[in-house]
């Protein structure tokens, strides 16, 4: 069969990067996971048979929210810097991102410390405790994973192993981080706005 008989190939064979496809799938499936915890939280609002109730003990987490949401901006700067090959700027803005993530975790830890030791709310106290700690806890666990990933990349960069050609991969981590941020917006709305 000679090629002359074949029709002109309209498909250039270029495909979406497999890393992007995989991360998109992971985010999709993780969203379904969180959706169930969010539904459980919303479903059980006001159904606890004993106190404490959310209005008695929850304060709007201003510091943590500001830190986490702004970290989405700094990681964008970081990826942009890495793509341009500005390694020093990448190291700096990545460090800021990691720090903001840690600030969020610390604010969650302080909140939990207060809830557990002052207000006596644990996962076994009532339905509010059950749904609150599992939803916020799974989100915080995802923040931890993000911080671990970013710290790994950051240390490798200090050792000189990360170059601008790795920007694609680092961008995928930033997708994950944006996802963690977006989940926080949903958690924030359910727990601290709808649930209060």
């Amino acid at each position: 069969m000679s090629d002359a008989t074949l029709p002109r190939q309209l498909d250039d064979g270029r495909r979406v990067d497999r890393g992007r496809a995989g991360m998109a799938c992971l985010i999709l499936t993780e969203s379904a996971f969180f959706a169930i915890f969010v539904v459980a939280y919303l479903f059980y609002i006001g159904k606890s048979v004993t106190g404490p109730q959310p209005v008695d003990v929850l304060d709007f987490p201003v510091v943590g929210t500001v830190a986490l949401l702004s970290s989405s901006g700094t990681i964008m700067f970081a990826v942009r810097a890495l793509r341009r090959g500005e390694i020093a700027r990448f190291i700096a803005s990545f460090l800021v991102t990691i720090t903001l993530g840690v600030v969020f975790l610390v604010s969650t830890a302080m909140e939990w410390n207060r809830l557990i030791f002052e207000d006596g709310l644990t996962i076994g106290t009532n339905l509010f405790g059950t749904t609150f700690y599992s939803l916020v806890g799974f989100h915080a666990a995802h923040v931890c994973i993000g911080i671990l990933l970013m710290s790994g990349i950051w240390s490798m960069t200090l050792l000189g192993h990360v170059k601008s050609r790795h920007a694609e991969k680092v961008e995928l981590v930033s997708w994950y981080w944006h996802f963690v941020d977006a989940v926080w917006l949903v958690v924030l709305t359910s727990v601290y706005i709808v649930g209060l």
Binding site: T5, P7, R18, C25, A32, F33, K47
Partner: protein, 557 residues
């Protein structure tokens, strides 16, 4: 189109011992080896679940029989159901997808080979953990061995108070862990379809197998993690004293049903759409015609996928939902019949006027079409809420879903085994043995599951370990149990056929069925790299184009 690849001479180091072979298989990231391991594990658990079913059928052979006590009977139906869904259906569909999806789109492997290997071993050891419950769950409590809460593990039966010991924990953890295999398989298949299609393989030219496995993968991604989330909640309840499904503390047992069936109903489509996928490859090849209505098939598959996430509460009509919800779920459930019916007509349209070759794969697929119509009809009947109220939790329901999953999925899996075994092993399965397998299995299937409808209509509830003799159920139960012997004989013939083919089968050559998709363009078995040269396609049937340059498909599409 590149010519058929010549098989590479095996690179065998001197003294290639069985430990080297074992090492090869354990450390492999090759999608073909992982696919074979998935399917073999699935077939192994198929036999285990079959033995469990046989034990139950032995217990139900006579009214008032007490060969197996009620506790053991509860364990048997829990293990049988959970095994068939999670350790038979899921690995086999993941295995076939793993093996053939990259080959069909001209890729050299899946998109994430190491994730693939990780997923398989998570599945494998999760399955092992689940079955370890027979030995380990008794623990210090003396509270029973294997899980006995039914495959959907309704709350509050699974609470600490009612399920002491660790049997329910084995159910949770075994399924949770083996689920990673399905998840990584789904991410892999979608990633492969998005990123690794060869040149010319546009979405509109992908084989229907690839389309359908993509929809299945999407459904796995949005349905399997909700089950994981619900199982984690149950773990929290059991170990951390949380109250998700604890009715004493205001928790809601029905919420578990909603969560479970939000997974459970899409799961039914996750299992049956691969059956559609195998049928959609086999029926055209053995009818010597292109598939009838390719774009409609794709659209029907997608709409089944979309509808499937909105029908879950039809499993819960008897729980006492609001009237509006009952009406909604009944209506949407009946709507599923439309795209499914379209598919049935398309398969019949493909066969119509074709030069049908009734070889074993086609026999299984033909039986599938008929049986699936019946399964769909009883499904529509059960979708009508008042009818469901009458027959819920009777053998009629058991008959319905076995018609779907055995008459639909297992039949097409056998068809797929006969169709693709030559590609995987390079040897043909014997046609005569295949026909024995088919007829024995069809007779056994009809005896067992058609009669179950009657028991259900006579009011026999599912999951009872024995029954009184004055209900006229005994004769029907005996026919049902007799069918097991035929099915078992059919499966034994199947394994004998495989053993004989591996030992002294006729060499298959690259393309024994004169088929049209890319997997038949490479040698049997395919080399590690699948294709020496990346293929380029111009139509939905690239091999037809290569074999018939005078009248290629791309002139007509």
């Amino acid at each position: 189109m590149a010519a058929i690849d010549t098989p590479t001479p095996p690179v065998t180091a001197p003294g290639h011992s069985w430990t080297d072979t074992l090492h090869d298989w354990v450390t492999t990231c090759d999608h073909k080896k992982l696919g074979v391991m998935y399917v073999c594990s699935g077939l192994f658990f198929f036999c285990v679940a079959g033995l469990e079913a046989a034990a139950m059928r032995y217990q139900l052979l006579f009214a008032g029989n007490d060969a197996i006590g009620p506790e053991t009977f509860n364990r048997l139906f829990t293990m049988h159901g959970t095994t068939m869904v999670f350790l038979v259906g899921m690995p086999i569909i993941t295995g076939f997808g793993n093996y053939f999806l990259p080959l069909m789109i001209g890729a050299r492997d899946m998109a994430y080979p190491r994730l693939n290997a990780w997923g398989f071993w998570m599945f494998f050891f999760g399955a092992f953990l689940f079955y370890f419950s027979f030995l380990g769950a008794d623990g210090l409590y003396g509270a029973g061995t294997a899980p006995d809460v039914g495959w959907f593990a309704y709350a509050p039966l699974t609470g600490k108070a009612f399920s002491r010991g660790n049997s329910t924990d084995y159910w949770i953890l075994g399924i949770l862990i083996s689920g990673f295999g399905s998840l990584s398989g789904a991410i892999n298949m979608l990633g492969t379809v998005i990123s690794l299609r060869c040149r010319g393989m546009t979405f509109g030219r992908m084989p229907l197998f690839v389309w359908m496995m993509s929809v299945v993968s999407f459904l796995i991604l949005i349905a399997l993690t909700p089950l994981a989330a619900a199982q984690v909640m149950l773990l929290f309840d059991r170990f951390l004293g949380a109250h998700f499904f604890d009715t004493q503390a205001g928790g809601d047992a029905v919420l578990w049903q909603h969560f479970f069936w939000f997974f459970g109903h899409p799961e039914v489509y996750i299992l049956i759409i691969p059956g559609f996928a195998y049928a959609s490859e086999i029926i055209p090849v053995f009818s010597r015609k292109v598939i009838f209505g390719y774009p409609v098939m794709v659209a029907a598959t997608i709409s089944i996928g979309v509808l499937s996430v909105g029908v879950w509460a039809h499993h819960m009509f008897a729980v006492g939902m609001q009237r509006e919800l009952n009406i909604y779920f009944a209506a949407i459930t009946m709507l599923v019949g439309v795209p499914t019916g379209i598919k049935i007509f398309n398969w019949i349209g493909t066969m119509y006027g074709g030069k049908i070759r009734f070889q074993t794969p086609m026999l299984f697929c033909t039986a599938f079409v008929f049986q699936f119509v019946l399964a769909g009809l009883t499904g529509i009947m059960l979708a009508a809420t008042p009818f469901d109220w009458q027959l819920t939790d009777t053998y009629f329901v058991v008959a319905h879903f076995h018609y779907v999953l055995i008459g639909g999925l297992i039949f097409t899996i056998f068809g797929a085994c006969y169709y693709w075994f030559p590609k995987v092993s390079g040897k043909m399965l014997d046609e005569t043995l295949g026909k024995w397998h088919f007829w024995l299995f069809v007779i056994g299937f009809q005896l067992t599951f058609t009669t179950m409808h009657v028991q259900g209509l006579l009011g026999m509830p599912r999951r009872i370990y024995t029954y009184p003799s004055d209900r006229s159920w005994e004769i029907w139960n005996q026919i049902t149990s007799a069918g097991v012997l035929f099915q078992a004989a059919g499966v034994l013939v199947f394994f004998y056929a495989i053993a004989r083919a591996l030992h002294s089968g006729r060499p298959a050559g690259p393309d024994p069925w004169d088929a049209w998709t890319l997997e038949w363009s490479t040698s049997s078995p395919p080399p590690d790299y699948n294709f020496a040269e990346a293929p380029e396609v111009h139509s939905r049937r690239p091999l037809w184009d290569a074999k018939h340059p005078e009248d290629p498909d791309w002139k007509h599409e």
